[in-house]
Subunit: 230 residues, 4 copies
Amino acid sequence: MTTDTSPTVPEEHHGEVERLRAHVCALHTELTRWNLVTWTSGNVSARVPGADLMVIKPSGVSYEDLSPEDMVVCDLDGRVVEGRHKPSSDTAAHAHVYRARPDVGGVAHTHSPYATAWAARGEAIPCAITAMADEFGGDIPVGPFALIGGDDIGRGVVATLDGHRSPAVLMRGHGVFTVGANARAAVKAAVMCEDVAHTIHIARQGGPLHRLPQEHIDALHDRYQNVYGQ
Amino acid sequence: MTTDTSPTVPEEHHGEVERLRAHVCALHTELTRWNLVTWTSGNVSARVPGADLMVIKPSGVSYEDLSPEDMVVCDLDGRVVEGRHKPSSDTAAHAHVYRARPDVGGVAHTHSPYATAWAARGEAIPCAITAMADEFGGDIPVGPFALIGGDDIGRGVVATLDGHRSPAVLMRGHGVFTVGANARAAVKAAVMCEDVAHTIHIARQGGPLHRLPQEHIDALHDRYQNVYGQ
Amino acid sequence: MTTDTSPTVPEEHHGEVERLRAHVCALHTELTRWNLVTWTSGNVSARVPGADLMVIKPSGVSYEDLSPEDMVVCDLDGRVVEGRHKPSSDTAAHAHVYRARPDVGGVAHTHSPYATAWAARGEAIPCAITAMADEFGGDIPVGPFALIGGDDIGRGVVATLDGHRSPAVLMRGHGVFTVGANARAAVKAAVMCEDVAHTIHIARQGGPLHRLPQEHIDALHDRYQNVYGQ
Amino acid sequence: MTTDTSPTVPEEHHGEVERLRAHVCALHTELTRWNLVTWTSGNVSARVPGADLMVIKPSGVSYEDLSPEDMVVCDLDGRVVEGRHKPSSDTAAHAHVYRARPDVGGVAHTHSPYATAWAARGEAIPCAITAMADEFGGDIPVGPFALIGGDDIGRGVVATLDGHRSPAVLMRGHGVFTVGANARAAVKAAVMCEDVAHTIHIARQGGPLHRLPQEHIDALHDRYQNVYGQ
């Protein structure tokens, strides 16, 4: 619920907010489709372009019950601006990322099992296959352990991604946070992160593994980011 | 079928029993959705509030064939009070838990593969990720091996959970029992138990793993139980 | 197609054959539902009660294309009696089992991955969890390597199961054959075989594993075979 | 879009191209059904019989959005002849295979996790189960690491498959390429490649594994290629 002291959604953003409620809601079906989430864990948000606002999943609502109207609009301090639900318990982390990274338009968070296994050990995923070079441009790095609720997770995400091409970070003992130019890109990074976490885990069970040479990683990443797709 | 010497469902509970038949039946679809059960294994029950009764799955009926009318109403000694089927072969265990734990409103049981693998070795799952601290508040403990049919399983579940925050116990050489304030909470615990059993198994395959510091586990568990959700 | 020299389905069995065509066809959806088969691999057959006939899957037809009319009726020497398709390439093995084991009413065969992994190593699955004692009454044994097409596979299945309570055998370097009083029981055994092959594999990856004491296995198996279900 | 300097689809091939657009589009659903692809990765193509043309997936389009009209017709130098999208970024590799191997009518490419894990280590999959002998006639070989975009991948695929019965090659640090007499056969090989990569990986985790004797591999492969199916 909007509280008296909260800002409200300015009228010029009403249409965009409505569109993003539907878009962010729909993107959550990608988390279940790709088996990244269990029960109510995981969440996606999108920045409202041109406003200090974001649209995010409500806390603890089942995936099959999510509707666009359930999405919560928050300001970039994490306060609810519009919505009938409490926002995700990770709202402060998302908000911090948007404040610190104006280039980021979407954030996703999961406890997907293979990526979280690397996070539990605090071990970066080595860039040993071309699909990793394509999407992540190198290893997927590990961020610090941080308790939920305040700015610590968001700070850890931003600090760890600084200087990395990877849009994904493995938060130690916790799970995955990803960023993107928009929410769909952040969700894609979460999907690909679990995929490569899975493949590299299996690969290493069978014997030692070598990272790709840096020049190949650079060439693959450049091509994928600039040539691939429509 | 109700036998002559069995108690019957008192009239004031008819409405609640009907509601719980539908609810318990529907919760079984969560067991299949999250891949916790194979063929006809696994079961869920709910206590009938204010009565010494519970509603439980019939024995050996396929998940896709379950309807609310198939659910069986038993007293808390495990005797059938109402129902056209034999109740789950785990009925005695559920009944014991309800007798011993007035705070428990729901019980679930599965042989989900990763959790059962820890149970087969008789090894507790160490609390090494925040999702485990959230839901289980520490390690998931191991209970004794016990044969099915009498009170041994129920006694083992109750004795093992005593003094633990975990709503889940790994019964040695057998599988998972979970409890909750209601049946949905017990099912959620079964779902999350398999999820963390999976993630921690994978994590440890890649190298040694450290349990989270107790103070962090305490803070995470307190927040999740009291702040998370709507 | 029926050839001139083949026997035909006697008229008194027409109704039962029609019923079994639908039943065997439907049971193949259990193979895909439980992820036991890939592309066109795997097959199920049922004995026609009171006749020296069986109903079996056609060879190399996709699961989503199977209809009751596609099922093939063969005699117990594996010759086609009725059907517009060639029968499964494992027909000789099924036929041998029916000839040698009058108590068997159904046979299933899969290359399900975990069970086939034990078969590839030629290692029996040790009975370390109650679900295995329930269904298999002990270890799941390993049969000899045998080439497809003649009687060798069927002979290996029958010889290996002799003296075992297990309805499943791991044929070395190949996959799983299961038998049952009827086709549904054989399919159930194939489903449970993969389930326990999976769980015991995971369990052993985490450390040594102990088989259940024989007296417990005996008690569990007796109860499950005689008390469980409706 | 057809460019001015590109060849166009000759009128006598219009019907076949239209049929192949639908067929190739539909085959992509097999990649998702068998969990071989993640997000937009993976692709299938078919040669247009009697023409120096192929039909291939567009680059970076989601699987659930693919329609027959989205497929792209290219010549065997990889230039777009007809289509509203850019073709797959692997088009040059497919085109090279068609130029070098007149017997090949279809090509598939995936990053399926188990097969890619073997590729990441650069290790051939040993032929230790009958399903592998059937489909691959021996080990699945490893090809060289090659950067995407030019002829290197296609050359590596062709050179590695030369002298092998296997229709699949594990491209080092990358993923799987398969060939077939038609596109469906290439897709089947990709599905079976992941299946055996999975099973053999699991098998070897539990202990040493022995390849089947060559004479058995030969007999199995001969039978499967010449007797199996309708």
